[in-house]
Amino acid sequence: MSPTPSRSTSGLAIETAGLVKTFGETRAVDGVDLAVPAGTVYGVLGPNGAGKTTTVKMLATLLRPDGGEAHVFGHDVVREADEVRGRVSLTGQYASVDEDLTGLENLILLGRLLGHHKKAARVRAGQLLEAFGLTDAAGKQVKHYSGGMRRRIDIAASILNTPDLLFLDEPTTGLDPRSRNQVWDIVRAVVAQGTTVLLTTQYLDEADQLASRIAVIDRGKVIAEGTKGELKASVGAGSVHLRLRDPARRPEAERVLRLALDTDVQQEPDPVALTARLSGAGDSAAEQASRALAELARAGITVDNFSLGQPSLDEVFLALTGHDTHEVPDAKEEAAA
């Protein structure tokens, strides 16, 4: 990613220390420390209910923290909420636009609320609709928009005043792959102009595609933080899936793979399929996979089909916490581990 002009003197867009938010008995956010460099995309990765949205809401001044501190461009989110509001913009998990109004009306409304005069607001709204490919839908109520269009109008509304910091809370959840790619393109364009983006996501590949640093959150705590490379090294580079021609040779193939890759090999329910986890350190996933294939060929085992899988969020969580994203063991005891 090209270097981008920083708008903060300290170089940090967000800085939190021991941020806590409780809802009744639940500690939704339980001591989160974040340091987000200005001018970058920072990924917050975690399953549903991990505390991502709650964290974003506190940073966007929508929720008052119960403990700890958070600063956005050096401004305290509680004491200087108004300062913070002037510099950030939020695209929530659910459409943050008025569904009863048209796309054009929504953008004019926002433009007026951000201080533009009537005419300027209208001009700006038109330009945004054009840039986001929504000119044809300008006069339609947002409730009739497709998922991808909603996301676009939502992000258009968020960048109306070119915020210094943009919160994108699960921007691609529920989108088809094509719309997801388009959202990614938009995020890249936004950050290229110097806006810092805090992106929450449930998808590892999304964080991988966009973010330069990633924090993994689970049950209100940051369980891992670092660059993509660092994170991957701790998780493993994914897995290789193989389908053999002859099911009878599977035990042999399993042995060959285990030796070649020095890793666990799993027999799938399908009698010809095998899955091997790849190590995150050392050789790249592709190098490891080609070594595995070469060894199998030498042993005379025919491989019909082969694919390389990215580590899933489940695998990340398994590696980092010892539990997957779905099981929720008793929080209190586990938290100490």
Binding site: K57, A60, T61, L62, R64, D82, R85, G86, S89, L90, G92, Q93, Y94, A95, S96, V97, D98, E99, D100, L101, E105, L109, L110, R112, L113, L114, G115, H116, H117, A120, R124, Q127, L128, E130, A131, F132, G133, L134, T135, Q141, S146, G148, M149, R152, A157, S158, I159, L160, N161, T162, R178, N181, Q182, D185, I186, A189, V190, A192, Q193, T195
Partner: protein, 282 residues
């Protein structure tokens, strides 16, 4: 140019990275809007919603017509000898009653709106905090005005003749709308406080029915038992309907006007801050 945008050009135009970049750089931030300007913008939003969903005017058109006709012919003969005579007394009162009843929809719309994502955006904007709520009330003021005009027209068709003329009628409506604007802060409070639309409706009914019926809208309180008179004579609705009745009849009931405005001020002072506290805490 962005990638992966060739196949979907049919249904959705591609995002243009260049124009997006140009827009982001061009963005010179204007100064923040004034409190008035932000409130008016939210009022505009409320009017746009009426434009898109005109059915929501049902409660300010059909309901008031029903109220006028129903009570005039139901009570007219028994209470004043004939509906024609009764409407002279009833119309300003039923106007007050109906409009004050309609105010409770404010709570419902705040409650349904607050759950939506757009509210998070509004709350994260650097604007005068109460403007969102004031916007609702401004939009609703328009609805109250429509309801008043509808009822007046129906009343005049069946025989109501305001001695105060155009001036008196306009003054009466202005007072009623101003009072309703202030009174609605109760509903914004409930709209933010209660969890569901149904509970907002339920609580609103509990407040609005006794408050509007226990007043001098239908009959002179003199025939009521003493304890009830004490309540009715001090009710804000009684003061308001006396004031509106007086204004429309061509008088200048200064005391009643002062009482009505005093109550209005009290509602804003008490329920405005509670509303804003809930709004900031939501």
């Amino acid at each position: 140019m962005s990638t992966a945008t060739t196949t979907e050009a049919k249904d959705l135009a591609p995002v243009s990275a260049e124009s997006l970049a140009a827009l982001l750089v061009a963005g010179e931030r204007p100064p923040r809007p004034s409190a008035l300007s932000a409130s008016l913008t939210f009022g505009w939003r409320a009017i746009l919603k009426i434009k898109h969903v005109p059915e929501q005017l049902f409660d300010v058109t059909a309901f008031p017509i029903m109220m006028v006709l129903m009570y005039t012919y139901l009570f007219g003969g028994a209470l004043a000898g004939s509906p024609k005579e009764y409407i002279q007394f009833l119309l300003p009162g039923i106007l007050v009653m109906s409009v004050v009843m309609i105010t409770m929809y404010t709570g419902v719309s705040v409650n349904t709106d607050i759950e939506k994502g757009v509210f998070d955006r509004f709350r994260s904007l650097p604007i005068w905090r109460p403007s969102t709520m004031v916007g609702y009330l401004l939009g609703d003021a328009l609805r109250y005005t429509i309801a008043s005009i509808v009822m007046l027209v129906v009343g005049m068709i069946i025989g109501y003749r305001p001695d105060g003329g155009v001036g008196g009628v306009l003054a009466g409506i202005a007072l009623l709308v101003a009072f309703s604007f202030a009174f609605s802060w109760i509903w914004t409070m409930f709209g933010l406080m209660l969890r569901t639309e149904k509970s907002v409706m339920g609580v609103s009914m509990m407040v609005i029915f006794p408050l509007t019926f226990l007043s001098n809208v239908f009959v002179d309180p003199k025939t009521m038992p003493g304890w009830l008179q004490a309540f009715v004579n001090n009710s804000p609705i009684t003061h308001l309907s006396s004031a509106v009745r007086g204004l429309m009849a061509g008088d200048w009931p200064a005391d009643e006007i002062a009482w009505s405005l005093g109550w209005a001020g009290l509602f804003v002072l008490v329920f405005g801050p509670i509303t804003m506290r809930l709004y900031n805490r939501k």
